[in-house]
Symmetry: C2
Subunit: 115 residues, 2 copies
DNA sequence: CTATATACATAGTTACACACAGTATGTCAA
DNA sequence: TTGACATACTGTGTGTAACTATGTATATAG
């Protein structure tokens, strides 16, 4: 059956996106935003991410000093708002540059084998 | 000290490159090539990869049916030559397309926050 | 008052990159 | 001939991170 192929392809696609998730999150947190809304924003822009991935990721990034957060109680349920910290800004710029370099490298690797 | 920052940045860069390694390997294995030479070829093209990463990766990809290999004994020590299989060709095309899509998505995510 | 959307959290599983160490062959120069 | 270095591959252990699944709690609509 064709199942094996599509399973593998899906797994590989996931691996592809893995390293990019942090960059994607950083890119969206210039202004305050909470997890749930961030998740839907990313989804709308073609970068879906599971809850079980996003929330731990946000916590981790705060631990690493890339994000700052605070609880806010408004109309709805309590929400935790995140935004980039000073370090987060710097790392984001570094990471964005590394990303562009990587894109160039991969382009170079692939171009020879264009069918 | 600045150490913490550069450590983190290095770790993130590694994560960034992680998903791309398989794509990079696939891109180079249109023709027969053995691990050691492949490693140096990738290094020369801006995609360095550790031995402890590359060799298990090649084995794994063969298990998954993406590569075919055979031992050859010539002048030097025995070498294991790898090349893309039929499935490998197909997956490579899929993966390359997903990569291009991902590049577009990330571009879209980042462009708003250009300083 | 019950179903659904909102909002966040976490335990468990799996996969992978790397550091480190080991084995063995080939080459070259003192 | 021996010792150093490059070549070529293998294996173990460790750490990190994404996902699945599940749980908790608050709002809102019928």
């Amino acid at each position: 059956m064709q199942k094996a192929h599509s399973d593998l392809a899906a797994k590989l696609e996931q691996e592809l996106r893995r390293g990019v998730l942090m960059l994607a999150v950083l890119s969206q947190l210039k202004d305050n935003q909470y997890g749930y809304s961030l998740r839907h924003a990313l989804d709308a822009k073609g970068m879906p991410i599971e809850e079980g991935t996003l929330y731990p990721l946000l916590r981790r990034m705060e631990e690493q000093g890339l994000l700052q957060s605070e609880w806010k109680i408004e109309d709805g349920p309590p929400r935790r708002y995140y935004r980039r910290s000073k370090d987060g800004e710097r790392i984001y710029r570094d990471l964005a540059e590394q990303w562009r370099a990587l894109v160039g490298t991969v382009e170079g690797l692939m171009e020879e084998s264009t069918s």
